[in-house]
Symmetry: C2
């Protein structure tokens, strides 16, 4: 058994970050697939506060929160660095990773979960944030420059999950004419070997997020009727 | 003129983190005090996305987002490390810093800005999170152990601003009998030399946050009348 264990779900985009980072570094690990509707006692023991995946367990000690885990991986296994050497460039990578979680993910989720006015507000906010990412990609292949780095891994869900959301909602947030560089990155990033080999099955994700959208809309209807 | 510049406001708890980190490391810097109701063009140029303080400018390059700036400071000036050496301990410090921003700050702000049901919900959520911090302090003087570290700096607002909020709202979130270790830390942390010397004036903060609370309550009343 490997000394590294990853608790994940098959669909979590946050857990995928850790898969990609470990694979890019060539770190062997065991996977424990969690059913998030019935979490294992081991998961609750390793992440008692957030009770979420991903959890990385290394030599019996757990690390939680995907961006914190990425930093841990970077510091523990030095090969194939995810962060550049220069402190300012490192700060830039960390900035975009956090920006994705704070300013892109929430409105994109609003688009998935709503219709009408709330959805439109989500679209406006998401595009506002996406414009900054488009700008950042100028003259670069990846957010990390010539190779996949910390910010690419953190923003990877935009290439994958968000693409699935577009199919589910019928709303294209990242159109080629509006976001040409981001659109290109959405093709280049998942085409990299390690990423391509660890891409959850699209059909299954479409079904999952269709159900999530429907459930959210029903929930809203119920709230409105109250 | 120093090669390091800090854009801050007199009252921002996020900016205070940077003041404390630079002082703990003994890094000389110039301060630019911003009036947040009329931001300078330089601030907008250095932080065009979030348009917020703090911004650190080092050798002409800007770094934004207080936790990202703390990492930058740690990597650029190695003396008096804020993070421990062991990667797992580093992950723990980063976890608590982020936990404070994600799970403590928002409900504490809800308590400040609301009354009635919303305020009560804020109290419950805030205390739920504070319990984890209390637990984390078991057997330790600071979150960083024997000395002030990354998480202490990130959570410093709990010793300072939150204390002011308690005066403004009349609600004691961190009572000595309920949170003895956290209460003790709230005395020990601000008593450390560098911290003590860089503590914004309490009276002025009380006035400021009284106004913020009143404004929020009036705003809510207006929304309810619509």
């Amino acid at each position: 058994m490997a000394e590294v264990k990853l608790f994940r779900s098959w669909s979590s985009s946050f857990a995928l970050r850790i898969v990609w980072a470990l694979k890019l570094k060539g770190v062997p690990y065991d996977t424990i697939f969690e059913d998030l509707s019935s979490k294992s006692s081991l998961l609750l023991q390793y992440n008692p506060i957030h009770k979420k995946v991903p959890v990385l367990v290394h030599n019996g000690k757990s690390i939680v929160e995907s961006l914190v885990i990425l930093e841990y991986i970077e510091e523990t296994w030095k090969q194939n660095p995810l962060l550049p050497e220069d402190p300012h460039d490192r700060a830039t990578a960390r900035f975009w990773a956090q920006f994705g979680d704070d300013k892109v993910f929430p409105p994109v989720l609003d688009v998935l979960r709503n219709e009408g006015k709330e959805q439109e507000e989500g679209i406006v906010k998401a595009k506002e944030s996406l414009k900054y990412l488009e700008e950042e990609l100028k003259g670069k292949k990846f957010f990390g420059g010539e190779k996949i780095g910390f910010a690419d891994i953190a923003l990877g869900w935009l290439a994958h999950h968000e693409n699935v959301f577009e199919e589910v909602t019928g709303i294209t947030l990242i159109a080629e004419d509006e976001f040409p560089l981001l659109s290109e990155w959405r093709k280049t990033f998942p085409d990299a070997p390690v990423i391509k080999e660890n891409w959850p099955p699209r059909d299954k994700l479409v079904t999952k997020f269709q159900a999530i959208r429907e459930q959210a809309l029903v929930q809203k209807l119920k709230m409105a009727e109250k």
